[in-house]
């Protein structure tokens, strides 16, 4: 059973590599029960989206 701390590490790594089947299952079980880590996962996705958008953020001023 993963702790929240371990879960944050796996969630970060899921942005960088394909997790193993076991890791994915452990994650899913944990996320199903843990609101904090589910939010953490969404926040990681948000950061990636923001970084992708970062260079285009200057465009907003043109509109």
């Amino acid at each position: 059973m993963l702790s929240c701390k371990e879960t944050t590490h796996l969630l970060s790594q899921s942005q960088d590599r394909k997790l193993s089947l076991t890791e994915r299952m452990q994650l899913e079980i944990h996320l199903a029960m843990c609101k904090g880590c589910t939010n953490f996962r969404d926040q990681m996705a948000f950061l990636r989206a923001a970084c992708k958008r970062y260079l285009k953020s200057g465009d907003k001023a043109d509109e």
């Binding site: 701390k5 942005q15 960088d16 904090g36 939010n39 953490f40 926040q43 260079l55 953020s57 001023a61």
Partner: protein, 199 residues
């Protein structure tokens, strides 16, 4: 003169794009003079190869692609002299701040559990958000920021980041996790919670 050459001598457009480029280069290189130099080089390269780009946004994307490549080259030259795995006080503080989020059983402490950030698009549309985002990026310790930005902005694969900086995969994972959590906490405190809780 082609349309793009016209754009590149258009004062307002040039000033604006130059400002954005320097901001980006400075965040990545953390060195004013180097940032200015690399932006100048990228603009010069853009100017000499400017055929075939009709619109502003296509040009901007392209100029930034040149800038990215130039920064990547610079990093490749420099990395051998930087030891990114060395921990500064700032990095230690960030790790400590992370540890305080958890109870002794390594589960979230209820008061500081990550919150729901709602619809991301709403924030990404607000210019104030980007000011906070910038400030949070600048707030990351130098080496942590370097690894994070290589991964997220220069879009290196993690294996390349490790190779370029001569660090192990697990070290790389630790640094990226530190960066992401640092950035997340900074945004949570300064953007997402700012409207809800009195300081």
């Amino acid at each position: 003169m082609t349309a793009v050459e016209n754009l590149l001598v258009d004062d307002v457009f040039l000033k604006e794009i130059r400002r954005d480029m320097i901001k980006f280069a400075h965040l990545q290189l953390r060195d004013e003079a180097q940032a200015e130099d690399v932006v100048q080089e990228a603009l010069a390269a853009a100017f000499t190869n400017s055929k075939g780009f009709a619109g502003r946004s296509a040009l901007k994307t392209w100029v930034f692609a040149i800038l990215k490549n130039k920064i990547v080259d610079l990093i490749r030259q420099q990395c051998r002299t930087t030891n990114v795995s060395a921990l500064s006080t700032d990095e230690e503080n960030l790790d400590q701040a992370f540890e305080t989020l958890f109870k002794s059983n390594a589960h979230w402490s209820p008061a500081v559990r990550p919150g729901n950030w709602g619809d991301p698009e709403e924030s990404l549309r607000e210019s104030r958000f980007w000011e906070v985002f910038d400030a949070c990026l600048k707030h990351l310790p130098e080496n942590t920021a370097r690894v994070f930005m290589m991964r997220e902005f220069l879009e290196f694969e993690t294996t390349e980041v490790c190779k370029e900086l001569s660090i192990t995969t697990s070290n790389c994972n630790v640094i990226l996790h530190r960066a992401r959590n640092g950035l997340r906490l900074c945004l949570e405190q300064n953007w997402f919670a700012a409207g809800e809780q009195p300081c």
